[in-house]
Amino acid sequence: MLTKRIIPCLDIKNGRTVKGVNFIRLRDAGDPVELAARYAEEGADELVFLDISATEEKRKTLSELVLRVAEKVNIPFTVGGGISSVDDVGMLLKCGADKVSINSSAVKNPQLINELVAKFGSQCIVVAIDAKMIDNQWKVHLVGGKVSTELDLFGWAKEVEERGAGEILFTSMDHDGTKNGFANSALAKLSTELNIPIIASGGAGSVQHFIDTFTTGKADAALAASVFHFKEIEIKELKQQLFNNEIPVRL
């Protein structure tokens, strides 16, 4: 049986792992390669590296880090942040990334999704969507959440699927950093309306939140950062408790 995935996310800035609260306040949380190896050892199913400063600073220096991670880690990982061209993606995959995640660049140029899928296949193209509820409507945001758009989350997600993306990583900006749980109703709607895997992101604070996002939220995978970095939740213990709650996980 296909299992639900637990994905620690390593937000990278200047080569270090950081985690923002509501995308703004940043705290240093350690060396990414060390953390990645530790998570793989503890039973993480996948890893995500997001260079959160990349889009803002137009920086593309992840390849060296990707190479170091690929050398040391025996589980799949996704790389995102500031990726805006076929060449960027080719380089990251060549360095050993399994998937890449694109966000702002997909909104600015949706055709990029088609181009990447044609060149590298759906299986390695993740589209990350940051959204926030405004006047009772989920609106897509860009540049690490700083720029709002008129795009509706569900309409955009559908388009992303139609253009061939293999997976959607949905971050609720209203929930991110709050530790109050994931945006389960929006997630369940995405998961029902779309036929590609949905990764839940933003709001993890307790084991119960993960249980909820896999059941009520119908998520295929759940991503979190600080609860893992600061050892508030141990991955082994989390997966055992998911298992005890009859959620299929790899133990």
Binding site: M1, L2, T3, N74, P76, F120
Partner: protein, 193 residues
């Protein structure tokens, strides 16, 4: 031991190289027929789309070379699918090593299948020491139906072949290079064949 990875620009080769390195081996990435023929072990990777991958194999004559190889050959993911007789993906005629037709998942499951699934009915030297129902990492939209060459199955809406074997030819749908310690054991078993 001389290990080669067949080079036909099929994406994410680096991960396989690193996985072999972690096991204490190195492999040469090559499309040179002589080097491939004389290697002890041949790894046939693959990520991406079937028809364009097949075209690349044809362009270098690898399509006729691979089925003639006598040493152990391991096809991974798309590599395994290309070793079958036909793929629905891009209406692609494959290498015909396994008499199986690759079809798309189409029965109420999300496509692609992404994540860790269990492998069962293990019946190949490739799985020596690997326990039934072990988890492996998979990313794919097309699958190989169960056939006479099936040596492991997984379930995703239906039971399908997650590994095939015929004589010296082995194929795995999952990514051993990304499947933690269990995947490393499969690679190690292959290298010890």
């Amino acid at each position: 031991m001389k290990i080669v990875i067949i080079d036909y620009r099929a994406g994410n080769i680096q991960s396989i190289q690193f996985a072999l390195n972690r096991l204490g081996f190195t492999a040469e990435l090559t499309d040179d027929a002589e080097k491939i023929k004389t290697a002890d072990k041949v790894i046939f990777p693959g990520v991406g789309e079937a028809s364009s991958a097949m075209q690349k194999l044809k362009a270098t004559g690898l399509d006729t070379l691979i089925p003639q190889l006598k040493q152990p050959v391991l096809g991974i993911c798309l590599g395994m699918q290309l070793m079958c007789s036909y793929s629905e993906e891009g209406n692609t005629k494959g290498l015909g090593i396994f008499e199986d037709t690759i079809v798309k998942f189409n029965h109420g499951v999300k496509v692609p299948q992404i994540g860790w699934n269990q492998i069962t009915n293990l019946s190949s030297d490739l799985f020596k020491g690997v326990k039934e129902n072990e988890y492996m990492y998979l990313v794919h939209s097309y699958y190989a139906p169960v056939c006479k060459d099936t040596v492991a199955t997984s379930f995703y809406g239906l039971e399908y072949s997650t590994a095939l074997q015929k004589n010296n030819f082995y194929g795995v749908q999952f990514h051993p290079e990304k499947s933690s310690k269990a995947g490393e054991l499969v690679l190690k078993n292959f290298l010890e064949l």
